[in-house]
């Protein structure tokens, strides 16, 4: 490895073609615009010839560790895949576990899960827009997006007690009930967010300088997007109306009306506008959730009756769930389960195979960024070298979730 990095220092012309020569650049793990990965970019003059994404710098071997631990411990483990959007990751895992254990969460728990999923989606989109802003050296967009993201992190902290790693949904329901005064706090945050979205459009997306950097750059055609199985806002910006929330029935999305924003151009500007649109949609979803929230228990009856009677009253009174003793060594019945969920970055896919022991035999997770990595190979060639950060920022790519 060190030998490879010494090439990093000495300049090496790869091969000469006539008078032009291809110039190889290592946009390495330590680079303001590369995140936790390395791109081997080959340039001919200012035009990118090829980009080879070399991922694996944050490969924390989640699947191997999940096989060695009890099923319930996989939830906090897999949450670290995408820490900025952690509930959407765990809600799919818990849906898969529930399909194996066939424990049905009560409707109020489904509504609470949808609430936290949408709060996390807004926070994840703001994180993506912040990173897209700093990629164009527009530090105001980075600071505004990260500052407003704190509003939603605080809301999630009120609901679950943790800033990012909520571990909110467990097989059979959720851990906490809705705190009092949550509705007013959300209304204040939603009004603030709607006002701020106009400011983002004015300072960033409608800013003629940024528009000239984004329009017509990194165009992903519809057929190309379908063929390369791109997910999330990058897909919807290329005209394909697909959303895992409609494909798989988890959470309370069946009882809510929300419209999936789709744009046709497929360039960087379309991707950013789809994200702004999705934030507005998430705000309206949360409003509907808070209105239609049914009352009732937040933990499945099947596990509630395993609690000793005294703690059961306490759970029902305080709304704080105490995990029954059986969860420590929950035996997963033999079989397979598949679950999909829509994260901020796209659709996450779970496939759990269990052979009846307490530990899952095989836990397979395919994250949206792993399916979007192939875009780095297909989009930049032909563009100028300075378009690379614009494309990277607009894809909202999060390396830790791609490397698992």
């Amino acid at each position: 490895m060190l030998s490879m990095s010494s090439e990093f220092v000495s300049s090496r012309l790869l091969f000469k073609e006539g008078d032009e020569s291809t110039y190889e650049l290592f946009i390495g793990p330590q680079h303001p615009a590369s995140g936790h990965m390395r791109f081997i970019v080959r340039l001919k003059g200012d035009i990118i010839v090829s980009v080879d994404p070399d991922i694996g710098y944050v490969h924390r071997t989640m699947e191997k560790l999940a096989e060695g631990r009890e099923a319930i411990k996989a939830i906090p483990l897999l949450e670290r895949l995408t820490i900025i959007d952690s509930h959407n990751v765990t809600v799919a895992l818990v849906t898969a576990l529930e399909r194996l254990l066939d424990a049905e969460p009560p409707p109020r728990a489904l509504y609470l899960r949808t609430l936290l999923s949408e709060i996390n989606r807004i926070a994840s989109h703001l994180y993506g827009m912040g990173i897209a802003g700093i990629m164009l050296n527009h530090s105001t967009m980075f600071m505004w997006a990260f500052g407003d993201r704190e509003v939603w992190i605080q809301l999630a902290e009120e609901l679950t007690g943790a800033r990012l790693t909520h571990t909110y949904s467990i097989p059979g329901g959720v851990r906490r009930d809705l705190p009092q005064g949550f509705k007013e706090k959300f209304e204040k945050a939603a009004r603030y967010m709607e006002k701020r979205l106009q400011d983002y459009m004015k300072i960033f997306l409608l800013n003629p300088q940024i528009a000239s950097r984004y329009e017509g750059v990194g165009i992903l055609k519809k057929s190309e997007a379908r063929r390369l199985s791109i997910v999330g806002p990058n897909l919807r910006a290329s005209g394909v109306k697909y959303d895992a929330r409609l494909a798989d029935d988890y959470g309370a999305y069946k009882e809510l009306e929300f419209e999936v924003p789709v744009r046709e151009e497929g360039d960087c500007m379309a991707r950013m506008l789809v994200r702004v649109e999705e934030i507005k949609q998430s705000l309206s979803i949360i409003r509907q959730v808070l209105e239609k929230m049914p009352s009732g228990p937040i933990f499945a009856e099947k596990y509630l009756k395993l609690l000793p009677p005294k703690t059961r009253e306490q759970v029902l009174k305080t709304g704080h769930v105490k995990l029954p003793g059986i969860f420590a060594s929950l035996k997963l019945p033999a079989g397979e389960a598949v679950a999909r969920a829509e994260m901020g970055h796209g659709e996450i896919f779970y496939h759990i195979v269990s052979d009846g022991s307490t530990k899952p035999y095989r836990l397979r997770v395919v994250t949206p960024s792993f399916r979007n990595v192939v875009l780095f190979r297909y989009l930049p060639p032909g563009h100028r070298f300075m378009d690379f950060p614009a494309i990277y920022g607009s894809l909202d790519y999060f390396p830790p979730e791609a490397d698992r």
Binding site: M1, M4, I55, G56, H59, T61, E63, K64, L65, G68, E70, R99, R226, R227, L228, S229, L235, V240, K241, Y242, L246, A247, D248, A328, S329, E336, V338, R340, E347, F349, H351, V353, T358, Y361, R362, R364, V366, F370, R371, V373, V374, D403, R404
Partner: protein, 161 residues
Amino acid sequence: MNGEKPSWLIEIVSKLSELGIRLDEAKNVLKMEVAPESLREAAKILIQYGYDHLASISGVDWSTKGTIEVIYFAESYEPEKRGTLIELKTATSRENPKLPSLVDLWPNALLLERETWEMFGVVFEGNPDLRRLLLPPDWSGPPPLRKDYRVVEEGIYVEYE
């Protein structure tokens, strides 16, 4: 699945059953056992019906049975077909697992096959660049996700039945 099956699903089931593929129906997932040889024909049929990309390729190492099972999940973006996933299950031996590569049919299988090769050692013939993806370049150990590759375990909770 609301009881009666949509028309395209019945066609797929009929087309595939000619190939002698065992089918059964789970909760909105169509499961299929496919022999490695007829993998490509099944894929071609599925692509005609709009299942034009793969959600995942996951290997499962049945060390007791001595086989590595590779499971393909085909997914579709069309509104009526996105509810059902199609699962193609193939099994190969553990000693030298070999499978035909599906990169020309499903282009996004490129990275998925690279990862399965790296984690399980399943060689996909025809894959243009089967090289290291996630593990460090100087990784000399066996494919890590196999069952015989032990990871040190300290159970904090004592196992009790």
